[in-house]
Amino acid sequence: MISDKTNIEKPKYINPYLGGVLLGLLILATIYITGRGLGASGAIKSAVVTTSNTVAPKATEANHYMGQFLSDDHSPMYTWLVFESLGVLIGGLLSGIIFGRVKKWRTDHGPRITIKKRLILAVIGGALFGLGSQFGRGCTSGAALSGTATFALGGVIVMFAIFGTGYAVAYFFRKFWI
């Protein structure tokens, strides 16, 4: 297990406050240019609607939720958030290359669980996050961060609900991480 190697010295991450200032300026620039903030879960939603529409177009159109994201002129993949998320992948890769973190597939996990268990938990956690992001009208970036930055009540609610719940339940899942 390669990932079990203990890393005592500090990894090459940028100062978190510098990262925060840059991210804040980026949100500001994004709102200044586009009139809205950054997001992430919307791109996955587009992917869901697109595959569903390819496999079963009639059922997708009849679905009250997915149907509203279909358009006659273009694919559901032709949306701002899909292109932005493509950029996120490129940007993440660029940073990874610069700081020497791009390696073949490996898994981060707590010291007390196996890789297999970690991957199962990642799917479960992702599924919950995907489900919750629909009720929350966005995820950590779209609703909590961009929403709160624009003083939206909903953004603040989602932010406190996510992190409040995280702290409330962390104890029960401690074996996954510490």
């Binding site: 990894p11 493509l86 490129i90 799917v123 009720f135």
Partner: protein, 200 residues
């Protein structure tokens, strides 16, 4: 003047080019800050790594104060920017589900993309989970369609709901953030000292 695209200062044809460029910057900042590792992200809930809190709150303050400044000097018309609509109970429930998903999964959607970019298998599996979760939601939507649209307060801001001017909120968030930066510094030191090993 701003927002530039909605006001036609930049043509609509540039929309997707700008989307990719802003996304690249977003992904770069997230990865460079350490958000591509689920161990780093989960640390915020266990006290051994508060990088999430530091980046998140700093970004929030900079963006909030920046928006107020842009509005003050007339570069940006705040009444033209998108305000997330508030659906009270669905958003609380959604946030709770996301909170549990965060602790179990160790990622959120944007950070999992950066994890995939540098080869983290758990990030890829988290994203597969995201897909399944949203697909499941869509299929089951008729069951909770009424709940989903309940508690609709519209595109309401903190200022509108409380009557308190925006600068007060910016100051309040800043004070809370600074206190959190200071306090968590001690928690982190203490927790790390008691951990046998700290793996990134």
């Amino acid at each position: 003047m701003g927002p530039l695209i909605p006001n036609g200062v930049i043509g609509g044809g540039w929309d997707f080019v700008i989307a990719i460029l802003l996304g690249v910057a977003f992904g770069f900042i997230l990865e460079a800050s350490g958000f591509s590792s689920s161990r780093n992200l989960a640390g915020v809930f266990y006290g051994y790594n508060f990088v999430v809190l530091r980046v998140f709150f700093t970004a929030l303050i900079v963006a909030m104060v920046g928006l107020l400044y842009f509005d003050y000097v007339g570069w940006l018309n705040l009444s033209q920017i998108f305000i997330l609509p508030t659906f009270l109970t669905p958003m609380i429930v959604g946030g709770i589900i996301m909170g549990v998903g965060f602790v179990i999964g160790g990622f959120c959607p944007g950070t999992s993309f950066t994890g995939i970019a540098i080869g983290k298998l758990d990030a890829l599996f988290f994203t597969i989970g995201l897909y399944l979760g949203i697909f499941g939601f869509s299929l089951a939507y008729p069951l909770f369609e009424n709940f989903f649209t309940s508690g609709d307060l519209g595109n309401v801001t903190l200022m509108e709901i409380t009557g308190i001017p925006a600068p007060y909120f910016a100051v309040a968030f800043t004070v809370v953030a600074l206190a959190a930066f200071w306090g968590t510094m001690f928690i982190e030191k203490r927790v790390r000292k008691n951990m046998k090993q700290y793996k990134f």
